[in-house]
């Protein structure tokens, strides 16, 4: 049976099609999920894509968090279903409290769009088993509210437990604490990051890198072995 990976579309999602494509290229079957539909259609994992859901009104991700589909995703994530939040999806995950902390406006107040160097710090999550710890990868980054923050105790906990999954290298593009680009929950099934792996999966598109494909092959491997 093919592994089914759901990709949620909220009003204002932009990268849902790219995420579906990345899922397909990795060898799984992408399943479109609609924000108003609580039914997850028997998916094995979920991607919350980038964009500006609900126009980023109130706070990025704040309104999406209360959508019907998120009720089911929060429930399943707590039971161990792999969930990846990319950019706006990461913001939805922090607003949902599936991941700790919060996202703030970039410290320089500019929208950023660049090829970003990252270090994979934790290659043990559901979305990173196809990387090596310490591996350096290039992934596009494009956002306005990317400055990850949390109180000192939470940061200490994340660092001590190896839950910082990705760190910005060379340049910190938004002022995030400890150069944090992505984190995971304690179980390792929920991962959120600001850069966009789904834009780095094909040699013919973008800058031609495929460093992002590993996210999607990782979860596939994880689910097949489960």
């Amino acid at each position: 049976m093919t592994t089914r990976v759901g990709v949620v579309t909220f009003p204002g999602s932009l990268d849902d099609r790219d995420a579906q494509r990345a899922v397909r290229l990795a060898g799984a079957e992408p399943v479109a999920l609609w924000h108003r539909d609580k039914d997850l259609h028997q998916v094995d994992a979920v991607v919350l894509p980038g964009g500006f859901s609900y126009g980023d009104y109130l706070r990025a991700g704040a309104i999406s968090r209360f959508s019907p589909v998120m009720e089911s995703i929060i429930e399943q994530a707590k039971l161990g279903m792999p969930v990846l939040g990319i950019c706006n999806g990461f913001q939805v995950l922090t607003e949902s409290h599936l991941l700790p902390g919060a996202m703030l406006r970039n410290n320089h107040l500019h929208f950023i769009c660049r090829e970003q160097k990252l270090r994979v710090e934790n290659a043990g999550t559901a979305w990173t088993v196809d990387y090596q710890a310490g591996q350096e990868i290039y992934i596009p980054l494009k956002n306005m509210d990317g400055r990850y923050t949390a109180d000192a105790r939470t940061i200490d906990e994340l660092e001590a437990e190896g839950r910082v999954v990705f760190r910005y290298l060379d340049v910190n593009p938004n002022g995030s604490i400890n150069d944090i680009a992505g984190i995971t929950n304690a179980a390792g099934n929920v991962v959120g990051l600001m850069p966009h792996p789904e834009h780095a999966v094909e040699p013919l598109v973008g800058t031609g890198g495929t460093d992002g494909l590993g996210f999607f092959t990782s979860v596939l491997k994880q689910l097949v072995n489960a």
Partner: protein
């Protein structure tokens, strides 16, 4: 109709680059003597019924779970007097 106001501000320890940008623009426009600016949000909630303890408790709950993200923001709730 009664109005309840929820003010939301970034916590003091959180960097507010928007407030800083406003502060830097002020002297250029001739508004001097302002040491610091922090920018927040104000929500005006018009209630259908009276502002009683139960209504205020629900509004506080809404502020805590939705209007503010208490990881990064503080909020205050107050009733706006008639005629203001």
């Amino acid at each position: 109709m009664a109005r309840v106001v929820v003010d939301v501000m970034l916590k003091p320890e959180i960097l507010d680059p928007q407030g800083q940008a406003v502060q830097r623009a002020l002297p250029r426009l001739g508004f001097t003597g302002i040491a610091d600016v922090r920018q927040g949000k104000r929500f005006e909630l018009e209630l259908e019924g009276p502002v009683d303890d139960a209504a205020l408790a629900r509004i506080r709950e809404a502020a805590e779970t939705f209007l503010a993200n208490t990881v990064i923001e503080d909020f205050t709730v107050h009733i706006e007097e008639e005629g203001k």
